[in-house]
């Protein structure tokens, strides 16, 4: 166990000294904060538009009223979560890849394996360091997000909102660790510099961008700007009644989306943060009942990636792939 901790500590020291990684994390934080700032500005515009509309109605002597736009602070995190989903996972891939290639490049693998290490100690040390790094980074990111919501968004957060933020952060940690470990495994299994990275990038491209894009494209409501049902002036209740006639198509579309772990992450976090209207202002029990399968699939992805990374990081396999 001590050897695992020593390896993990050494890895964390390396990562702390890596300026390139620090720049990437700062970039990610800026992107996420910007998305909250933009969402706050967008909401202010909606409020201004509403006030203008009400003033115009009053000036025209009309007694008609319109519902004011409601602020649900956690919904402002949609862009931020999507950045973590797309760009965060990209950086996780790079991090997982570099954790092995730097040892190959420096020629330190032979030295490390000359010590009496357990079969899985090397990989476990790396996995532990990645888990700690992502836990600290994502916690920091969510603290920054919360501060931005409070300061820029003027969002009144309640006690339950912090718990929801915590649950979204936990899902994000699992999701990003999974990507880092998959890239780490691919990097361990390939000989040439860059091969592991490109393989991991292709996997990232398919899982994060292509499969969700196919699912989105197959969504009838995504075919027209503003939505098909909005253009046909059909309200939500009727929309559901109509779509009930297309369950076969919807099931196929859903199955395609479910092959992407990114979609499971998105569905779970969107539900806990109330971004998806069906779950907005609902109890945690209700949300869990509706999304536990997404959380479990994400967990299964994480466990699989841990297993693959441990198996690929043994001395026998990794030294065979040293150039």
């Amino acid at each position: 166990m001590t050897e695992v901790l020593v390896l993990a500590r050494k890895e964390l020291t390396d990562l702390r000294r890596n300026r390139f990684m620090v720049v990437l994390f700062v970039f990610l934080a800026i992107a996420v904060v910007l998305s909250v700032v933009v969402a706050a500005a967008d909401f202010r515009l909606k409020i201004a538009g509403y006030n203008h509309y009400v003033d115009a109605l009053t000036a025209a002597g009309s007694a008609a009223t319109a519902p004011a736009p409601q602020l649900f602070p956690l919904q402002m995190l949609r862009g931020g979560i999507e950045y973590l989903e797309i760009i965060g996972s990209l950086f996780a891939v790079v991090l997982g890849y570099s954790i092995i290639t730097k040892e190959k490049g420096r020629g330190t693998l032979q030295l490390i394996f000359s010590r009496p290490l357990g079969r899985y100690a090397f990989a476990t040390g790396k996995i532990l360091s990645l888990a700690l790094l992502w836990t600290v980074t994502v916690t920091g990111l969510f603290l920054v997000i919360t501060a931005t919501l409070l300061l820029v968004g003027n969002a009144p957060l309640q006690g339950g909102d912090y718990l929801r933020l915590g649950l979204a952060a936990a899902h994000t940690i699992g999701y990003l660790i999974m990507w880092s470990l998959l890239a780490m495994a691919l990097s361990s299994l390939t000989r040439r510099t860059g091969t592991g990275l490109i393989l991991a990038l292709v996997l990232w491209l398919i899982v994060v961008l292509i499969i969700p894009q196919i699912g989105d494209t197959m969504d009838p409501d995504n075919q027209i700007p503003g939505g098909l049902f909005a253009s046909l002036q059909v309200d939500k209740s009727h929309e559901q009644a109509v779509m009930a006639h297309f369950t076969g198509y919807e099931t196929t579309r859903d199955l395609i989306e479910q092959t992407s772990v990114t979609k499971h992450y998105e569905r779970a976090t969107f539900a806990y943060l109330g971004i998806k209207n069906d779950y907005n202002q609902k109890s945690l029990g209700f949300i869990w009942a509706g999304t536990f399968n997404n959380t479990l699939w994400l967990l299964a992805g994480l466990i699989t990636s841990i297993g693959v990374a441990r198996l690929a990081g043994t001395q026998k396999i990794i030294l065979r792939k040293v150039p």
């Binding site: 390139f20 990437l24 970039f27 992107a31 910007l34 998305s35 933009v38 969402a39 500005a41 515009l45 201004a48 949609r78 862009g79 999507e82 950045y83 989903e85 797309i86 760009i87 990209l90 790079v94 890849y97 570099s98 290639t101 490049g105 510099t193 860059g194 990275l197 490109i198 393989l199 990038l201 292709v202 491209l205 398919i206 961008l209 292509i210 969700p212 894009q213 196919i214 989105d216 494209t217 197959m218 969504d219 009838p220 075919q223 027209i224 700007p225 503003g226 098909l228 049902f229 253009s231 046909l232 002036q233 059909v234 009727h238 009644a241 109509v242 779509m243 297309f246 198509y249 998105e266």
Partner: protein, 302 residues
């Protein structure tokens, strides 16, 4: 065959790029998705028409079917997003590999010991890659026209075929700056990792972050081939849109593509978008050819 230096470098570049196995993987994904896009579009259109008929039969709308006016070119619409996502990444990867290959094998030292100007050598390499992308897109255009013809049940008219060909010409212009960006990263980066990563970060900023600043469009919604709605005419987004829109090359490409592919939702002219994409391509090519001799011979730290 008697080759001059320029032609020899172009042919060598083409040969090396064709031989690279990893870009081939991206290439397979790209061509596969181009082929599949028409069938995905067909499935979406069938479902939307079904939904519309159901809405109509329930008496919930009197609006015409928004898809009635769509031409067969609708089925090529998804291709736009695959160019933005896979095509641009493929362009970056082949660009990075092209210059990294020289630096890793230290062939630059040997080549520059001859009477070769860096600008003409890099220009020839860039031309080789541009020809490779052109051939790839020509093949993709043929596949795309074939798949759309299968889906609609007849051979596309000359006009529709010409529009798809025009769209792929635009795609070539769009991919060119990403090839140049990859080459520059391969020339300037201190390690193979950063050479691959820096242009990918730049790409992610152009495709996912800048549009959000200008239109408040959510990142995942940018995966939809429907271009983001224009910014408000006044206020915060009017200001930010003016600043970032010229750099949102992905959105400019989507807008011009929608016009070329006769998307009824697309409005405006293509001049601005076309000029922006062309300006990026010219800037990228110039930046590559202006690289100094010392930079080309820089040591690696990987």
């Amino acid at each position: 065959m008697n080759l001059n230096r320029w032609t020899a470098v172009i042919l060598h570049e083409l040969l090396c790029t064709v031989r690279e196995r990893l870009p081939q993987l991206l290439l397979a994904v790209f061509v596969g998705m181009i082929a599949a896009s028409a069938f995905i579009g067909s499935s979406a259109r069938t479902s939307v028409t079904g939904v519309y008929r159901e809405v109509l039969s329930q008496g919930l709308t009197t609006a015409p079917n928004p898809f009635d006016a769509f031409s067969p070119l609708y089925y090529a619409r998804n291709t736009v997003i695959y160019i933005v996502l896979i095509g641009a990444l493929l362009a970056i990867v082949i660009g990075v590999h092209s210059t990294l290959r020289d630096r890793l094998a230290k062939t630059t030292d040997l080549i520059l010991s001859r009477e070769v100007r860096p600008a003409s050598y890099l220009g020839a390499k860039l031309t080789g890659l541009a020809v490779f992308v052109l051939l790839l897109l020509a093949a993709s255009a043929v596949i795309n026209i074939g798949c759309v013809s299968v889906v609609v049940g007849h051979v596309l008219s000359f006009g529709d075929g010409a529009r798809i060909a025009g769209f792929y010409e635009l795609a070539w212009l769009f991919m060119l700056p990403f090839v140049a960006l990859g080459m520059l990263a391969g020339l300037y980066a201190s390690s193979a990792t950063s050479a691959l990563l820096i242009p990918i970060v730049v790409w992610s900023v152009m495709i996912f972050i800048l549009p959000l600043l200008g239109t408040a469009a959510h990142p995942v919604s940018l995966l939809n081939p429907v271009a983001s709605p224009p910014a408000a005419e006044a206020g915060f987004f009017s200001f930010t849109s003016g600043l970032v829109a010229p750099f949102s090359v992905g959105e400019q490409f989507k807008h011009v593509s929608a016009l070329i592919l006769s998307d009824p939702q697309a409005a405006g002219t293509m001049t601005g978008g076309l000029l922006t994409i062309a300006a990026f391509a010219v800037a990228g090519c110039l930046a590559v050819t202006m690289t100094r001799r010392e930079r080309m011979r820089c040591e690696f730290h990987d």
